[in-house]
């Protein structure tokens, strides 16, 4: 531990901020984990703000509908969708926020759902690949991916489609390959479908501007 840091810790202690002291006013949760850092006699005023570690009921707004489920706080948005809601379009590949196969759109922005806690996105609008088709009609980005053979094994494809949709929603005037490459810099494919993906995104940009945006 750095000297600097040791000093800070000491300072915290000197200021009378003992473990027992600072935990006053923080509620108790049951279970060995909670009690390890929480005082038994702490007050309950923040009880509504502590959850778990065992499974807790949560509500996720996915594709426009509220979904109620019971998960531990450690469950990611991706695993909640895949293991609890049977929304398996988003894929678990690197599981460390690098490859983009798990991409979802949360409040209008693309995110790696493997690196988001499910409990953390309550009250937000979550869009998955399952939710972008409208009335059974595939989204123009999905159509463009098929038209340009922007897929092989297809395991990265839902993530790419979501990343492309999120990108085009925010940048409807995309016209160059360079823009597409920058916009999709957070997704990886192993089969090597990028040639098709580049064309697909440009085609989708045109189609979406033509009023076919979902």
């Amino acid at each position: 531990m750095s000297k600097h840091h040791d000093e800070r810790e000491e300072k915290a202690l000197r200021s009378g901020f003992s473990r027992r002291g600072f935990l006053k006013g923080v509620s108790v949760t049951s279970g060995a984990l909670g009690s390890a850092i929480l005082e038994e006699d702490a007050q309950a005023q923040t009880a509504g703000r502590l959850f778990g570690p065992s499974a807790v009921p949560i509500t996720l707004n996915i594709n426009g509908a509220d979904q109620k489920l019971t998960v531990e706080p450690r469950v990611t948005l991706l695993d909640a969708c895949r293991n609890h809601l049977d929304l398996t379009g988003a894929k678990r590949v690197c599981d460390r926020g690098t490859c983009g196969a798990c991409t979802m759109i949360v409040n209008g922005k693309v995110v790696y759902s493997c690196t988001v806690l499910a409990i953390d996105v309550q009250g937000k609008k979550i869009q998955t690949i399952e939710g972008i088709s409208q009335a059974g009609k595939p989204h123009p980005v999905s159509v463009a991916f098929v038209n340009n053979d922007a897929q092989q094994c297809g395991y990265c494809t839902p993530g790419f489609v979501m990343a492309a949709k999120g990108f085009l929603d925010r940048n409807p005037n995309v016209t160059t390959l360079e823009q597409v490459e920058k916009g999709l810099g957070g997704n990886l494919c192993r089969c090597g479908t990028y040639v098709g993906v580049r064309k697909a995104v440009l085609e989708a940009a045109k189609a979406m501007k033509g009023g076919r945006n979902a």
Partner: protein
């Protein structure tokens, strides 16, 4: 005897068309269910405990705490006390539980006491591998000593290519349900027909008890043939948990550690040549590792197999690393890289254009492919603007950015594998095609639909293709680029056979003999008298209540001219190198690849694009990095096991070398050959740009700068 041959090129209506893949929209909307997506009622999750050491003995293992955890249904130890573990991530124990989180918690509650043993995990310096080197013995052809004595020029170099991992995006794994004497098995596999028997053998049950189903697979590249330890233990966990289905797919680190890798290849190569670039002698001393099995010698000299005087030594190095698996054209990319690098270095030493040197040495190539290569060199030169862009080694232009061009070469077999297909025509006119095969993303479903549609004179949409179940007629695994030849031939034969039966049924109604009929544009009509016809639907009604169901078999010993083997391919890379940072940028990649009769050019091109991109990864970024002291793979992730992203690939131009002569050869597999020459082409292009050979790929900034510095020194 029915005529099974492919219809002539000019009269085809479905074959040769650029159809979109038939399962494309399912995949692009997320509806496609991979087996890793399955959620079966009552399904349990499994997790595995693996070795943290590259070499260790299990002294003791205690699973009692894990067994007691709420939610845990079964624990299986596969490495009991006394087991010697030979690589990091080797399987030790498996746990099933009601949730993935609990299964992982339980794995962490297993206590293992290890006796750590010495390991060797790196092979690039042969002098440091001690007793792990296993020389394969010298191979001599002709009189290499004489060739080197008489040579007008001798060129030598050292080249290396590291171990790569398959890094399939869908990890290896499965869901298994073992209830009574029925095992339902949903693996991610390239081997739908034969993986069931493999699992059965390992479980000691008859193969008939295993039912396999898989609709889609998220990448295999040669690594997904066997049932594997995790498949077997998943089944055992299911049985031990009262027959509840159990899901286990490897996490990314385990996937990269033990689910397959491509062996490395290092070589010192000397070429004896004449001043005009003609090679007269080859000497190589090579070594490689693919884990504890060592790993075979890459087939060098590659393509130029008839170089007259050769001496070759190869040493396999046993390392405590995850075991090798077949990797898209096993050993060929390594061999192409070693060979083409040596030839490019020879050309540079002589100040000759490598296009000319490659062409000159085509005399050493198998005669059957020689003309193809010569034509392809010409085509690739044209597409890459070679004559305009190529310069002698070392771009002498101003500024730190240097541009260069390089050539790589490939060959492959690609003969169709053993495949059986059943085509069923129902009285309502619907058509179903069934094969115990799999679509790896190559477009197998689409290609089969095109063949059957062509044969029956129907539109593509009216053909339903079912793959991925071992209750369908058996097809061999998808490996070695054998699938397209196999399944296109078996489905052609089955469709022709079914059509013959239909002709027999409808001939009386048309007042003709069956052999006078043909199926064209949704009708059965009399040849030469098309006004005498029945629409397809009406024709099928004549079947009454009896469907037609006919088999077709491709026998690799007699493919009836429908498929064949042996291809040539040339790739040219055009790169820019920032000589201040060592960063290599792809400008363009050109691939000229023959593959006989092309059933769907769009999908075939996708294969080649993908192969070029895989080569870019291998040439510039990818490598498994081993730590000598800890024996760990340091980059079992997608952060430092680097793959090219969409902005890293430049322009890619593909020519499928579609000519009447190539078409007449029949269908030939394409998945592997275009992955072979790219690394060589890029490495040669970098040497051409910066004026010095970077001996080892990937051509990362550290290696490029080191080579530049060495040249300056």
């Amino acid at each position: 005897m029915p005529n099974y041959s492919w219809p002539p090129m000019e009269s085809r209506k479905q074959i040769g068309k650029r159809y979109r893949r038939v399962d494309g929209i399912e995949k692009a909307t997320g509806r496609a269910k991979y087996n890793s997506d399955l959620n079966k009622p009552g399904m349990l999750f499994a997790a595995m405990l693996t070795s943290p050491y590259a070499h260790a003995k299990v002294r003791s293992i205690d699973t009692s705490q894990a067994e007691k955890m709420p939610g845990v249904t079964a624990v299986r130890v596969v490495a009991p006390a006394g087991t010697e573990l030979q690589w990091v991530s080797q399987e030790i124990a498996f746990v099933s539980a009601t949730s993935e989180e609990v299964a992982r918690d339980a794995v962490r509650a297993i206590k293992v006491d290890y006796e750590v043993l010495p390991h060797v995990v790196r092979e690039e310096d042969l002098s440091k591998v001690a007793d792990r080197a296993k020389p394969a013995g010298e191979q001599v052809t002709g009189d290499p000593d004489k060739a080197f004595r008489e040579a007008e020029v001798i060129s030598e170099g050292m080249y290396g290519i590291p171990v790569l991992t398959h890094c399939c995006l869908e990890p290896h794994g499965q869901v298994v349900e073992w209830k009574g004497d029925q095992i339902n098995y949903w693996p991610s596999t390239q081997n739908v027909t034969n993986i069931g028997p493999d699992l059965a053998k390992n479980l000691g049950v008859p193969a008939t008890q295993v039912k396999v189903h898989m609709d889609h697979i998220g990448g295999g590249f040669g690594s997904k043939f066997p049932a594997d330890r995790w498949g077997v233990e998943c089944a055992n966990l299911s049985k031990a948990s009262g027959g509840r289905p159990v899901k286990l797919f490897l996490d990314r680190a385990t996937e990269l550690n033990i689910a397959g890798n491509r062996p490395s290849a290092f070589a010192k190569i000397r070429l004896a040549a004449k001043k005009d670039g003609t090679i007269i002698g080859w000497e190589s001393s090579s070594w490689a590792t693919g884990g504890m099995s060592g790993g075979g010698m890459p087939p060098i000299p590659y393509v130029f197999v008839n170089i007259p005087n050769r001496r070759m030594n190869h040493t396999a190095v046993m390392t405590n690393c995850g075991p090798l698996r077949a990797w898209r054209a096993p050993n060929h990319p390594q061999a192409s890289f070693l060979t083409c690098s040596a030839i490019e270095d020879l050309a540079a030493k002589l100040g000759l254009d490598p296009m000319e040197v490659f062409a000159k040495n085509m005399q050493w190539v198998a005669e059957a492919r020689r003309d193809s290569y010569l034509a392809q060199l010409k085509k690739a030169a044209e597409m890459s603007e070679w004559s305009k862009r190529w310069h002698r080694r070392g771009d002498s232009g101003p500024g730190p950015i240097k541009r260069g061009m390089g050539i790589g070469i490939c060959t492959w077999g690609g003969l169709g594998h053993a495949s059986n297909c059943r085509v069923t025509i129902h009285p309502d006119g619907s058509v179903i095609v069934e094969l115990g095969s799999q679509d790896l993303g190559t477009g197998t479903r689409t290609v089969i639909a095109q063949v059957v549609a062509e044969t029956l004179g129907l539109p593509l949409e009216s053909i339903k293709v079912n793959l991925g179940d071992n209750s369908y007629p058996p097809s061999n695994p998808s490996g070695g680029s054998t699938t397209v030849g196999g399944v296109s031939s078996s489905s052609r034969i089955a469709a022709v056979n079914a059509l013959e039966k239909l002709f027999e049924k409808v001939a009386p109604a048309l007042g003709a003999q069956p052999d006078q009929l043909e199926a064209v544009d949704g009708k059965i009509q009399v040849k030469g008298n098309p006004s005498k016809n029945l629409l397809w639907g009406a024709a099928c009604k004549k079947l009454g209540v009896q469907s037609i169901s006919e088999m077709g078999t491709n026998d690799p010993r007699n493919p009836r001219g429908l498929n064949t083997q042996g291809v040539a391919g040339i790739q040219v890379a055009d790169v820019s190198v920032d000589t201040e940072t060592g960063v290599v940028t792809m400008n363009r990649m050109v691939a000229v690849q023959d593959c006989g009769l092309v059933i769907n050019p769009r999908l075939a091109e996708s294969q080649v694009y993908g192969a070029c991109i895989m080569s870019i990864c291998g040439a510039l970024m990818e490598e498994r990095i081993m730590d000598a002291k800890t024996g760990r793979v340091l980059n079992p992730d997608m952060e430092f096991y680097k793959l090219a992203g969409i902005g890293d690939i430049g322009e890619i131009l593909v020519d499928l070398h579609i000519t009447p002569e190539n078409d007449k050869r029949g269908v030939i597999g394409l998945g592997e050959p275009p992955t072979v020459g790219g690394i060589a082409a890029i490495a040669n292009a970098v040497a051409n740009a910066i004026g010095v050979r970077v001996p080892t790929v990937p051509l990362t900034p550290n290696r490029v700068l080191a080579a530049l510095q060495e040249r300056r020194a």
